[in-house]
Symmetry: C2
Subunit: 359 residues, 2 copies
Amino acid sequence: MTRIHNFNAGPAALPLEVIEQAQAELPSLGGLGMSVMEISHRSKEFQAIVDSAEAGLRRLMKIPEDYDILFLQGGASHQFAMMPMNLRRPGKSADYVDTGSWSNKALKEAQLTGAVNIAWSGKADNYTRMPKQDELKLRPDAEYVHICSNETIGGIRWNKFPKVETPLFVDMSSDILSREIDVAQFDMIYAGAQKNLGPSGLAVIILKKGLADRAPENTPVFFRYLTHIKDGSLYNTPNTWAIYLLDLICKWLEARGGAEAMEKINEKKAAALYGVIDSSGFWNSPVEIESRSIMNVVWRLGSEDLEAQFISEAKKAGMVGLKGHRSVGGIRASIYNAVSLESVEALAGFMKEFEKKNG
Amino acid sequence: MTRIHNFNAGPAALPLEVIEQAQAELPSLGGLGMSVMEISHRSKEFQAIVDSAEAGLRRLMKIPEDYDILFLQGGASHQFAMMPMNLRRPGKSADYVDTGSWSNKALKEAQLTGAVNIAWSGKADNYTRMPKQDELKLRPDAEYVHICSNETIGGIRWNKFPKVETPLFVDMSSDILSREIDVAQFDMIYAGAQKNLGPSGLAVIILKKGLADRAPENTPVFFRYLTHIKDGSLYNTPNTWAIYLLDLICKWLEARGGAEAMEKINEKKAAALYGVIDSSGFWNSPVEIESRSIMNVVWRLGSEDLEAQFISEAKKAGMVGLKGHRSVGGIRASIYNAVSLESVEALAGFMKEFEKKNG
């Protein structure tokens, strides 16, 4: 079975070893005579999977004990609505840093139901860089500051996270576990799983204990963090398949040295592509060097025709997912943890060949 | 690979043929070189899957064109909150019929955010029957009447649905596609997938066109039906794996004659169990005969010890998931579409043997 070089932005490549284990266990998980999708979410077998996934994530990210870990459905977009509903008390305001499509979507959702202060916006610069610390117009009475650690579409990331006085919340969907981070600097980390953690249909929420008490009493039960904290993510039937895969991915990551090892490989992968991009005027990166993402590498060629040709020939060479997001165009290679160095080197090699022929 | 007789209430048995196809297609879907979990939800390949799932469901349930079909995350519990938020306008009330755990959970969620009229409650009877038409205290100005077609825990179902003057909404999680129904009598049908439609992590919503316009303007974008209708369930990344499996299950059902054929087999399966239960005083059904579910058959034995012995010996005989819900105890066999007649006959046979030895 031939596997392709997969540079999709999300849903994205999964580790082949994980896919193969899931495949082997599909008709019968551990001799149960049922797949993981056919066992009760209240069974001891599934509880063991949830516990293992949570413990794995806690070890991998060194998450302190005073943070709850939740596995909820709906992805990050669900969190855009649930977060202000629970954590920005009525009459209060939250700071949002507008660094691209995703943080902008989060802030627009928050604006609909309460007060938002836009602490900085990169819109005028076409979202090509992250702000400097002293550019942020933060409010001392903000309920929280919201940032997006890595903008998938713009291809930019916070190299160093800002220092703030109020609780710092971060959408880490596209770079969670791609690098070592200090969890303690955040009060909330959340991430849709479909880039670095597993399949779509799952979000991981890492929430400092106590914060969830902020939710007003008329918040729907299902939309309260407290509900899911109390029931250990099993208030209702969770996405059992996705939690199972997340658990396998945590094991896969631990076996490979965790976030520290991943960061080294990811830096190397990104450098392989940026190296080609910077090597000649044939390629052009719109992104400020300091803000360059190591997960989503974006670049342009001389014309849209040439870009279309590049994407088409890459596909013929077994490399897919390279078309930039429809809102910005250009080329984008998403090189999450599950995308191997070999795949990235193949792409870098292809780029050099393409330049030779068309430069 | 030995498969077990799976009577789980949900997540529940899936058709082996579907599991095997998913297994075969895991490392590479249709020669793409990626699994379905690794392709973009905006790719033409995934759009074809969504379109096929929707068309399959429309054919199987004969859903008229003036209904939208949505595939959302969060299951039925998510709908308990989303439904009144969107479809009960501010200051207005909705009728809820309280027939068991699930309808009760729906009405409690609705009570939190607005006015609810409990049109009937079976609580005093321990939820052992559905109401008669003339027992319902409906309000002419209700925004909708909410019912649960089949109560998984109590093991009761609406044999004939009530006739009402206001829009009728139904939670059909545990018996959708188990029998032929006339969709046109409802204005909203919703169902968590993990019983009759696929794995957990997905809800199907069938909504009469126009209703979604009721949502107040300050409803969070993500929690509006309109958002998902406009974007064909692709506003954000959906649970792609579950939609893929739902599509396979629709094809599996169509190949077997659809809801009409399933209803006949399901009636036969249920009759095999109720036949044993009614054959002697050794077994006892708490449920009114007219309200008996054909999806979740519940019964009691003479003592809790005997029930525990039954469950334990059944497990040794390769039959799992028979323990009644923790809130009511007893025995429950969930016999959804994917549970074969052979499995049910094996259980009926085991019951007769058990009675012989312990009666």
